[in-house]
Symmetry: D2
Subunit: 430 residues, 4 copies
């Protein structure tokens, strides 16, 4: 495929995914399409539960919602051949290609999920002008994962076409549920990067200027997403207040004390109770309360410290009011510590690319949290190198905004730089 054709194909893929966005663990249409393309290119596929540890999936939707979505996917162009592998919501894919000659194992991670955001209906929003706006209410690719998936397929194409002159083993990982940092741990725990020598995750946008590149983005905070439920006993507040077990007051105490967790002297920490919902009526002692919370840390250790304090506080608040409770980890990510040796190679690939104006080795700007860090930590623990790079692009609006949009000219250079890295890394001694 000529590069002009590939460029068009990338846009087609991206717009298709954009029109049919699917949120975390529901990427059934998306994954089935991805699998179809990869198999045709000759990759060996491992799908669904083969590449995901069920016990390590976090924040997965209810079975009922998943079943309904399978139906939707089949009605909206899913590749029937693969839907069965993903039908329970385990939507991960690992595509493996042995190139012509032995060499290192090189892995790339692409995330596929959309967000529960209603895409802008304003006329000046490019997806409206060009008619590829999300066809699903309250669901939108507002973070660029549609582009990531397209770039992954583009890279797969270029590698497959050039496999005779490449060295080593290629693993392309398509991950579900990056939003809320829910999906990566499950694939990492399933061992999909255990033989990997070089691991590269990438993101488009995130504040990096158009035609700029960051080879090692280290600013991610470790995080835990926590859903806390207190279950008490309702009672009439006027007639028998003493018979109630008050979940609202436990939640209020928990929220206050969670925010009062001591700062950590080794670095930044965060804790937020973003939502609290309790009670069912004015004159009823509230028997139910839910807290939607998160912790963060400059390092995984700091985040772990905050999380452990939260656990104590929630346990104590429940005991105060003689309640049952549940503390669900609905997402989690580690901090990021890119391998600069690997980043240096990526930076060289970007520097030499004609469409790139500037390539930076490292950035520490905070960019939220990322669960690709689970893959990175595991690769590095096994002696491999890992990095997280960013392809700058012109954004119509910030990530997670209803008017988010990227500049599609970024897609082809991204594929080409990642492909260059395959060539360079294959040539390295292991």
């Amino acid at each position: 495929m000529k590069q002009e054709v590939l460029a068009e194909q990338l846009v087609d893929w991206r717009r298709d995914f954009h029109q049919y966005p699917e949120t975390g663990f529901l990427e059934i249409r998306t994954a089935s399409k991805v699998a179809g393309v990869l198999e045709k290119l000759g990759y060996e596929l491992s799908l669904g539960k083969e590449v995901m540890s069920e016990a390590d999936c976090m924040g997965k939707p209810e079975e009922q919602e998943t079943k309904q979505h399978v139906k939707w996917a089949l009605e909206n162009g899913a590749d029937k051949k693969y839907v069965e592998y993903f039908a329970e919501g385990y939507t991960g894919i690992v595509a493996t290609l042995e190139t012509a000659q032995p060499g290192p194992t090189i892995a790339y991670r692409f995330d596929m999920d959309a967000l529960p955001i209603h895409e802008s209906e304003e006329a000046d929003h490019v997806p409206n002008q060009l008619e590829f706006r999300s066809g699903v209410a309250n669901t939108m690719h507002a973070c660029g994962h549609d582009s990531h998936t397209a770039i992954g397929l583009g890279l797969a194409t270029q590698i497959a076409e050039n496999q005779d002159k490449l060295r080593g083993t290629i693993k392309l990982i398509f991950q579900p549920a990056e939003e809320g940092t829910r999906g990566a741990k499950s694939m990492a725990e399933a061992g999909v990067v255990d033989q990997v020598d070089y691991f590269i995750a990438s993101h488009i946008g995130t504040g990096v200027p158009h035609r700029h590149f960051v080879a090692a983005n280290n600013g991610f905070l470790a995080t835990s997403k926590l859903n806390i439920t207190f279950q008490g006993v309702a009672s009439h507040a006027g007639a028998e207040p003493q018979e109630g077990k008050n979940a609202l007051l436990a939640a209020a105490s928990a929220a206050l004390n969670m925010h009062a967790i001591a700062r950590h002297s080794n670095g930044s920490s965060r804790v937020n109770v973003g939502e609290l919902h309790a009670g069912t009526g004015r004159n009823i002692i509230p028997d139910q309360a839910v807290l939607i919370a998160e912790t963060r840390g400059e390092t995984s250790e700091i985040n772990q410290y905050v999380k452990e304090q939260v656990q104590s506080i929630v346990d104590g608040a429940a005991k105060m009011y003689q309640l049952d409770y549940q503390l669900e980890v609905a997402g989690e990510a580690l901090n990021c510590d890119c391998s600069l040796d690997l980043a240096e190679i990526l930076k060289q690939c970007a520097t030499s690319h004609p469409e790139m104006d500037q390539a930076l080795l490292e950035s520490n700007d905070s960019a939220g949290s990322e669960d690709a860090t689970y893959f990175m930590e595991r690769v590095q623990r096994n002696g491999g190198l890992a990095t997280y790079c960013i392809f700058g692009t012109e954004l119509a609006a910030g990530h997670h905004n209803e008017k988010f949009d990227i500049h599609e000219d970024t897609l082809l250079p991204a594929v080409e730089i990642l492909y260059q890295a395959v060539e360079k890394l294959g040539a390295k001694e292991r």
Copy 2:
């Protein structure tokens, strides 16, 4: 009208109101029907804003909801002639009749509103068997006000038919929005009981056995219904936590400290934050929080004490977090201090009624709160007598339960006892 016919008419009225339940300040169909009957009987009517102080309506629905409901009422049998008087949601009625001879002014209060409860769909529920179940989803006469309204019309009928042998002036007050104790104050403040010598409110059920009567029910607690809203500033909890003004933590502090209000040594008090809803997302500093709360007191003074503490606490919690706030009084009632001289007369009427097994002068069992207390306090302040009586009935399930139902045999005796009181009171010297 013979008493057998009246008995049937009472059942017809009650079932009609039961099928078309309307919640507080939306009793447009109900009030229009009531007005139609009363006018035909020869009563002089004062309607809507004529008998309600706009400033003293509490917890009134939004204008939009009222408008939509007017449409519904017109489509569901409202008497068009009167709808205009109630179209803004001021649904009170005062019907006056001068009897043949001068005498005291005697007033009766009847409440007309339903509850936001979905009536049982089970087959054994009598309104289902006899096909007069609520035709409106999530709305139900689950407290007996349909019966109260029917009794009021029955009493109106019997008085009108016998006016030649009666003495004094009769005032029949049909009140909106008793649920949530929202409507009575508005009518009392409009002065509708200012010339009243004897005031009688009544309720069916409330735990009194079938064929039993309580002439003075003193167990009501004074109460205030409070809706509290904190308005802060949202901010990204990871990137700029210091820019937020946290409404959730203010609400949590307010809830804890409200429950910690000191007990009052003069009698029972209550405070309950029944609901707390705050925040919009896991990673956002919550900028909005709502508390749905109530206070109660064995006396109005005790309730006032608790309410004042709540006001201080809410004000302080807002200041803590530099927030704006609103504290809306969404309902209010006083405590109850029945005039036993008047109750004694009612007790005699009940004792002499053949369908009654027992008549009790006074009960102090707590029966929640009642805003008829506004009328009672005002009548007594002006030198009149007032009482709150209960007609026991066999209940299918407790008040506010989805399977609530009364025994319709209670309707006619209730009318007859109240009518007897008119005769006896008219004969008294003023």
Copy 3:
């Protein structure tokens, strides 16, 4: 002894005890003097641990303080013969007398302890004028127990002198540590009232007018006195805040949530954290916190309910911050339910006394808490009758005030009324 002589003796005793006040479980001088008098009168004595269950003593001072006080007592006129029985702070006495003829067992309770209050030094304070002011700094008989002890000895005298004409068995109980409701349970649990048919406790003052008598004072609230200690870990608040385990914040959470314990619909309840002391320095995460608290209830069940909520809250607050804690019950009393049959007899005795203007059968005015209720509950449980009576007197200032003083004319009538009851009760059939 003639009554004029007894009257003088009563004043002498009372002023002696007033000058040498001893707080709870330290009544060593007092008890030794009491024992000396009683033995001389011919009573059989049971002393110290013989009449006190060690495990049920609450809020007892440290061993060191007790030892030092023994030394003080010996230097200040204690009767050396008895000090050894009380030297560990078990200062209870039961004095038994078998009268001439068989009959019921009649018990009287007198309390002996003083308060940690500094007696007024103002010239107009009668004990200053008459030179019997407390000789001990910060210790004062400001509740009248000096008078109670004197009355007990007066009653002992009159009974002993008249034993030939009396019937039944007399038990005079001199109890330590009524303040803080700490001492009675220990004597009740030792079984000292297990064979008692009639039990009478009495108090002087408590708001009853001079020359008035209340035969059954039912207004006491059940209570628990709770000392709560949280033990955490200190840390430098600037350098390593995360290493601390913050006892201050646990205590703050506990205090707020204790006050927020739901009211009980069966009657009055109270909870108070009267003192909170936490932390050792501005820049140290506080590792220690103490709460001095109490609960009360209109019934023992209500108090028990509140106490159990406190236990849960304290346990939960400790868990929140990963702390150790202690919850010591430093005092406890039950509610009061006087036997009106017995009170009626006492009322007759008072009515017939020439110095008494009025005798009331029953009063329900709240008068704090009293641990004589432990004796009462046990006597009644075993089928006996019990009451708590009050001898009104003119007070210079309220109980527990530094200027508290009684009218000494009340002493002799009190003895005489209690003695009359012995005569009347002895004559009753068992």
Copy 4:
């Protein structure tokens, strides 16, 4: 004076100050001795209120305590000539010397105050062995300010002896109450460094190894020391709980919410309620509560942010419970931003000193807080340079420990390095 003699003199001075420690704003004996030495050396002195803004003194002791201490100082060797200048507790000194030739103005800051710590009585503690242990109970030079004062006098001596060959104006500032960061602001606001070109503060110890030197110590956190008092109304917790205004619950709420202040994304922050004391008795609604607290920030702006949140929280907590309150700033310091150009010169002086093993330009290790930062900020704002340097020494135990002790061999090199700086800085162009 030969350097050996100076070395001995330094030890004498240091041990004298060590034996007579005085806490902040009570350095009356110390300051009088310092003034005596400086005047003899020919310095022009400005004393007490001449160099201190009364309004900016923070955390000053009560007048009574100051008066008593003046008496103590006079009895313990204070130089009577100067006591009057310091008798109200304004104990600052600025000593000025014009050297032989015009040149820049160079200022040095030395702090003189001791800590409320009881010095170790153990035999192996060097001040015990050499008999210069603190002669004052609970007061000790446990931070090295005795050495600082001695070094200041040593530097004064060496400068005075060499003034003929020096250039510029020398200002030696002896500051009270550095502990608690209370004294510097008062002198800075009085303008004592307003004409200063080079400002050098120094500290001994603080974790820097023996014979090491740090020329620019930037690790200080900005801080505010806050004493918060809530004043409510007491009431009997059983009889009339509703009459109280509960200061304990306000303090508990304030403490929790202060710790819950949102972290700042621009850098580290701290908040600590180190002590909370509330209430006077178990059965009294607490009418009084005190919080001893501090805030810190990596920058002065961050500290200011935290302090402002504390102010809102305290104000709101008082409003919650209808209390009066006071928020006293008992100490304050800014963050530290040393002028590296000036530090470089100091580093050269240290590098060339034969007793020094190593000189570091800059350190960012957190070393608590320092109010010399007020002088530094003011000098820099006026265009001057400022730095804070550290003379490492062998410590017997950490700062603020009861066994704290320095190695006296550090004293002379400190004087010599600071003196070298005078020579070098005088030679620089302004």
